[in-house]
């Protein structure tokens, strides 16, 4: 179906389907029919999901506080559906997966939009742009907000790497504005489980964005630096090194120094799987998983398949601590 035809189709449907009620399991059934190649299943699916998509879209457009979007809600939903159709063929399983994917796509649309606006504001030939050329503070404000959105997107992508469901919960809760109860319904989980996962995801994101701020893609760093005063490559390198070192210390100190404890344990075992380590250190499995991946990103650990081992850098760091306190950890 062409985009324009799809838009018309959605607009027409929206007039008639506002009060369309879903029979339990119907969305899942339509998704499975769509899986099997029945394109008419999509026509039957859209009215069933439209209200929820609209609610998600509304929450997203109002909630993300990015002031300059010019996306109308219907166009936004249509774009979401187009991307759903044109994206990689997924093995649809249930409504939770569908709304999770939809919220994710909506976030991506906004991110693309923010990126495009940032690029327009800075201009393609803005390498020498200086403070005095930024005449309107709102330009900088909007660009800054776009950068915040991009930073959040990247933090969520990192979260998704080790826990896709928590990332999807943030998509629905923060971007989509769904309540805990609504998310529990979408994921067919208990209220308390969603609440616990939301709390964890929020704490994780807070740490990423506030206490360990913006790990934006370094390839875009020059573009960001062009907002306001710029920095030299040497300054940026020193800032990045200092940030990376602070990040490492913060990781070591997380959860009563659990990060350091894991390094010490890894040194004594030379190589170990995550599950062995979890039973070995008596820590929450999610915390161990998160810390191990972080320590690997920071060059302290090496991950080969399921096996983790200490790197030379990690070994030297432990030696340095031991020398400083005049005692061995073991």
């Amino acid at each position: 179906m062409q985009n324009s035809e799809l838009n018309k189709s959605l607009l027409n449907k929206s007039r008639f389907s506002l009060h369309c009620m879903e029979i339990p399991g119907e969305i899942t059934q339509r998704l499975q029919e769509w899986n099997q190649g029945d394109q008419t299943a999509l026509d039957r699916l859209l009215p069933l999901v439209e209200n929820e998509l609209r609610m998600l879209a509304d929450g997203l457009l109002r909630g993300h506080k990015y002031p300059e979007h010019d996306l109308g809600i219907t166009a936004f939903i249509n774009e979401t559906v187009v991307r759903l159709m044109e994206g990689p063929q997924l093995e649809w399983q249930n409504r939770a997966q569908f709304f999770g994917v939809a919220a994710h796509i909506m976030r991506k649309i906004l991110i693309d939009h923010a990126r495009a606006q940032l690029s327009n504001k800075l201009g393609r030939s803005s390498e020498d742009k200086r403070l005095e050329e930024v005449k309107d503070l709102t330009d900088v404000g909007a660009a800054t907000k776009a950068i915040e959105l991009l930073a959040l997107d990247e933090a969520l992508n990192r979260l998704a790497k080790f826990d896709a469901r928590k990332s999807a919960i943030v998509d629905l809760r923060y971007f989509g504005g769904l309540t805990i109860g609504e998310i529990a319904e979408v994921f067919e989980m208990s209220h308390s489980t969603v609440e616990r996962e939301w709390r964890f995801a929020r704490a994780w994101l807070k740490r990423e964005l506030v206490e360990r701020p913006g790990e934006l893609d370094i390839s875009r760093s020059t573009e960001q630096s062009e907002v306001g005063v710029s920095v030299t490559h040497e300054t940026e390198r020193k800032l990045a090194d200092a940030w990376s070192n602070r990040e490492l210390v913060a990781t070591l100190m997380t959860e009563q120094w659990a990060g350091l404890k894991l390094l010490v344990r890894l040194r004594s075992t030379s190589a170990i799987t995550m599950s062995q380590l979890v039973s070995n250190v008596e820590m929450d499995a999610e915390i161990v998983r998160s810390l191990l991946l972080r320590l690997a990103e920071l060059g302290m650990l090496e991950k080969q398949g399921d096996i983790f081992s200490l790197t030379k850098r990690g070994d030297i760091l432990l030696d340095n601590f031991e020398r400083a306190i005049g005692n061995s950890f073991e």
Binding site: V229, T235, N245, L248, V249, L260
Partner: protein, 169 residues
């Protein structure tokens, strides 16, 4: 000894470390902000007992070999070069521009700029500072309560522990 006891040792040694900390910001004429600087200084000294925590104005004309002929920014640059970390209380519009030129001085990574969130969109500082956590924002509530001071102490702790591991030389 247990792992927890080793951690206690790391904490003790890091809190006894000799650190040079600068706190830049409004002077005595801005009594409330000056009081905040004093509170920050006191809190750092309470935790890090051997830290030398100075205000920029305390160090004027104290450059070894003489400060004659050195402008105020030149003296401040030398202070920045000598310190381990420099907190800047950026609480008024335009104040940032006075120190923004230190960012590319070779010591910009030592600056931690604490900016009121109402100036969040002002372009005084490069986004790179924010990106790497060298510009932090606070609101009125955080300023009035201990939260801001705690963040500063936490930042000094990261530095001290990192120095133990030879991460910050």
């Amino acid at each position: 000894m247990s792992f927890d006891e080793r951690i206690e040792e790391i904490i003790s040694v890091s809190e006894a470390m000799k650190l040079n900390v600068l706190i830049w910001g409004p002077g005595k004429t801005a009594s409330e902000q000056y009081a905040k600087r004093q509170k920050i200084r006191q809190k750092i000294k309470d935790v890090f007992v051997n830290a030398d925590v100075r205000f920029s104005e305390d160090l004027m004309n104290t450059i070894p070999g003489g400060s004659d002929g050195l402008t105020l920014p030149e003296q401040e640059l030398l202070h920045l070069a000598a310190c381990d970390i420099c907190f800047v209380l950026d609480v008024s519009k335009g104040a940032g521009e006075e120190i923004a030129h230190f960012v590319n001085s070779g010591f910009g990574h030592k600056l931690v700029i604490l900016t009121h969130e109402k100036y969040k969109d002002a372009p005084s500082f490069p986004v790179a500072l924010r990106k790497y956590g060298n510009q932090l924002f606070f609101n009125d509530q955080e300023y009035e309560r201990c939260y801001l001071v705690e963040r500063i102490v936490s930042r000094v702790r990261f530095l001290a522990v990192g120095k133990l591991g030879h991460l910050f030389m």
